[in-house]
Symmetry: C2
Amino acid sequence: MAKRQPGAFDTWELDAPQLQDRSAELWDHSYGPVARRLLTSATRCYASKGFQATTTRDISGGAGLSPAAMYVHFPSKEAILFEIARTAHVKALDDMRSPAQDDLVERIWHIVYRHVAWNARYHVAARVAQYELANLTPENYASIREIRRETNRVYRSIVADGVEDGVFVPIDIKRVVRGIIALAVDPVRWYRHSGTDSPEDLGEFYAGLALAMLTSTPPVPASRTEPSDPTQAGEPAR
Amino acid sequence: MAKRQPGAFDTWELDAPQLQDRSAELWDHSYGPVARRLLTSATRCYASKGFQATTTRDISGGAGLSPAAMYVHFPSKEAILFEIARTAHVKALDDMRSPAQDDLVERIWHIVYRHVAWNARYHVAARVAQYELANLTPENYASIREIRRETNRVYRSIVADGVEDGVFVPIDIKRVVRGIIALAVDPVRWYRHSGTDSPEDLGEFYAGLALAMLTSTPPVPASRTEPSDPTQAGEPAR
DNA sequence: GTCTATACGGCGATAGAC
DNA sequence: GTCTATCGCCGTATAGAC
């Protein structure tokens, strides 16, 4: 079987996730080395196979341990997921809000730039943090949700200021911010370190897109529009 | 417990997925009524709990059958997932490319508009189609991938024409298209029919964002930029 | 703190009557 | 084509020795 091409246009596979994966850098050092190895192994497993398809044997085996040893460090599979998601959300938020220029164009540019670059650099952990939330307990989900809410607030306050100042065009703030975040998060789905884009390249590109959305009033097509018909006939060939 | 709020800003929960869910309209009528009920039930289960967490008992029970009866209609749980993903991808593609105006601004506007509206209207099935692909066999995944590739081509050819004509600004075509599609797909994650936005409202909004990205050269911040430092010290409070 | 061994439950899928 | 019953397997998590 041929290896996946770098820069594949669209993919869900994550083979050989260990390649150039930087998740090992992320974990709090209040965890000992064995616990951190477990977190790294779990991150790779969850990212490539999903939480439910990952077994405790996968996780412990990836850290060079027996399944039973895992329970000395974490009370459950879900607790490991929570710690991964919590760490990724906190670190990404922390990273993206560090610089605080005055100019609103600079501020939004930098936030998108750093958010995207972080998501690309740590795409394995970030993917778990974005796509496995449904597997958390309600309490743990609520906790992550608070961090996500804060991320939203960071974006919204800048956009709101820009709209008020007239630096940005008048626009529905919640909706654009949701759009900008959707762009910033998308790389976790397909980014690979083996491709040609560096995390920073990508951050610059998406920051430009975000600014385009905030600073231009797009042309409105004249014909708008007979609503699309969901009951249309044409069945595809089977 | 309180019900989820309409228009929740960001969510992965999908409670009571049966509410106003329109997936039942989607299935090919070469399937009999029982098979279609199974597809609808499976769509709701996969969307709310994920493929791996869904049991054959969930699916069959939701269609009013015993687990064994399912196997008369489909050979496996995975075959049902494939049929859902295939149908959603084909119908969405089919819907979005039906109108064919000459004007390139109109064309991209309509494609995004219809793509977004479709994803919102059928968000339950579309969510399964977007988020459960990792659970397909390699062969079935490859088949879906072809449809996704075609979707990409549809977008790319319009954008390429527009850039060549000078209607759109010069821009990396693959990268913007990836961004536009990321925007168009994002609603499957959070859209609810109980919210205030109609699928068409949302389509108009995102079509505007896509045009903004294609028709404006955003301001470039002067200070660009000390690369973000991933090894920064500050640990979050635990 | 790590191991081996295992309890216990629930999973996907099948057998065979009707 | 649907049912009841069940097989065989493998999941998470625990017991208890070292």
